[in-house]
């Protein structure tokens, strides 16, 4: 049983942003959020050797989701207003993209937001559909927990996204509010190393108990175990020459 092979881990020492400056009672501007995604150069991921492809000069900008402007459209305005009434100042940033509403929330406010979403009569999000982790390698708070709430009464969906850094990967657990988050948070812990505070038994769920590392982080190689064929080793798929 072994974890990833030695591989340079990108520097993740950028300071964490504080949530304190976010104004209460209104939606934050999202200015405290760092860009998501990584700036990338070239096309084939070839480093340290001559690039004959001619694509070596390409630079791809990191992706930043844009702040939504009111009116957000549909039920989104009503939902954001009701949530702000129930949990003032809890929303750091609102993104409306492809007809889906995403609320960026500081982790200190996640329990307030989830409680309001579940208990408020105007919100009534009975079901926590999905919890998943995403690793935005390169940004300061790269580990994101993404929650999909579903209101069966009003037939609405809302996505809530919370970020944490690798050095301080703590996010409050929603298991007390939504018991169905149990295994999904264990999976996000297993795969991304997000520590859900208050979870009744945060252990690995898919990987073996003694596994090193968190396999779905972006700096964890695919095929982290060396595979040997008759004396010759092959590189893991992400180290082979390929389009990026």
């Amino acid at each position: 049983m072994s974890g990833p092979t030695e591989r340079p881990v990108p520097d993740d020492s950028a300071p964490d942003q504080s949530a304190a400056e976010i104004e209460k009672s209104t939606v934050g501007t999202g200015s405290t959020d760092t860009p998501f995604g990584v700036e990338r150069h070239g096309m084939f991921g070839v480093h340290g050797s001559g690039d004959t492809s001619g694509f070596g000069g390409l630079v791809r900008e990191p992706w930043v989701p844009a702040d939504a402007q009111r009116p957000y459209g549909g039920y989104f305005d009503e939902l954001v207003d009701d949530l702000l009434a129930a949990a003032p100042g809890s929303i750091a940033k609102v993104v409306v993209d492809r007809g889906e509403l995403t609320l960026y929330v500081e982790r200190e406010r996640l329990l307030d937001v989830a409680t309001a979403l579940r208990n408020d009569e105007n919100l009534r999000f009975e079901l926590l559909s999905s919890v998943s982790g995403v690793d935005y390698l390169g940004s300061a708070r790269r580990l994101h927990a993404v929650y999909l709430f579903r209101s069966m009464t009003y037939r609405r969906r809302v996505r809530v996204e919370v970020a944490a850094s690798v050095d301080d990967p703590h996010i409050p657990s929603l298991t007390a509010l939504y018991p169905g988050a149990d295994w999904q948070e264990r999976e996000a812990f297993d795969m991304f190393g997000i520590v859900f505070d208050g979870h009744p038994g945060l252990t690995r769920i898919l990987m073996p108990d003694d596994w090193d590392g968190h396999p779905q982080r972006k700096d964890y190689p695919l095929g982290g175990i060396p595979v040997q064929y008759k004396g010759a080793t092959i590189p893991p798929p992400d180290e082979r020459r390929a389009y990026k």
Binding site: S129, V134, V146, L206, Q216, K244
Partner: protein, 444 residues
Amino acid sequence: MTDGTGGYAPSRPTTEGRVYNLTGGDWDEMLAQVQGGDPIHEERLVVNMGPQHPSTHGVLRLVVEIEGETVTDLRTIIGYLHTGIEKNAEFRTWTQAVTFLTRADYLAPLFNEAAYCLAVEKLLGVTVPARAQLIRLILMEVNRVSSHWVALATGGMEMGALTAMTNGLRARERCLDVLELITGLRMNHAYIRPGGIAQDFPDGAVEKIREWIVEIRKEIQGLRNLVQHQPIWVNRLKDVGWLGVEGCLALGVTGPMLRAAGLPWDLRKTDPYLGYEAFDFEVPTQDAGDCYARFLVRLDEMYESTKIVEQAIERLEPGPVWVDDPKIAWPAKLTVGPDGLGNSLEHVQKIMGSSMEALIHHFKLVTEGFRVPAGQVYTAVESPRGELGAHVVSDGGTRPYRVHLREPSFINLQSTAALSIGGMISDVIASVGSIDPVMGGVDR
């Protein structure tokens, strides 16, 4: 054996009392090893079931704490079939990722493909043509029927109803015959692709589906006649493994389990996709919330699926099956040649003989793939087991940045303890069978 216990039941003191390990061997000899009394009435008995066990519905491990035959605690241990599908998908193009994701829930592969492809299409901002939508819908409903047949067949087998198993698997073969004729494969089809479907219906597909509807309705009625009022079947399932609507919602349970508890929640009705709103079908519900109600819901759902397929084949009209965007659509038509399925001869002649640009285009699209604008979406379809969601994140590149499947098997399986604790150990089997977890989907 060198532990001095004759190979049986070594024991060791722990902070919670003496623990006896029983792995194989003879029960009388194990009891003889136990000093000072009767472990069944004085101590907790922890029984391990699985992961290799014929009644656990796959590589599922249950650690059951029992007192007599009553379950006092139960833990579900998973992960034995984890294959890193989500991680692997990040290292393939958007189209290639389908080949991995279809292997997650291997009894409902077309639903995995559809959830993912609808997400990618939402990211791209494209809608597939009407014919491709209808074909997807038809195949998903055939797949739903085949998946429910396996649920009923294996669930019956685990309780000892072997005729239910043989009949169920026979009926499932009929569904797989249809899928095989159309997609070329019985399972793991990779037939639904971002932007369309791999190929159009072959000759004779519609006739085959018409025959299938007649046959499968006979099979449904046959199973109804066989087991619906069969006393042993009813006694094993009725009032067993109860979970009400509140419990389902708290645990995130969706699909037939939720509908058997009384909430008519079906994404085909509440968030219609692929044009489900235009079809006339019912959402079967029961209100008992037990294993028998789940059995009835699945049986009724199969019939409703045949109704949908019946209407859908009447609405099929000739047309394209790929989006009208050469930057996304697969460049070649596929045909069956003397050496199997491949690019059509006409296309090969064009790219090899007459158009260098077409060759470059084909090469780029197949090897590099298309780019998907950055962003994230979540799309959900009603799989045979509940809400199957795909949370897909793109960073603007030719590969998915992150694909997460919200697997209903995974989330529904959390309810195992709630269904089982306080019941008899034999009811654990019926309860797990009624959840119908597919371990490929649970572990991904």
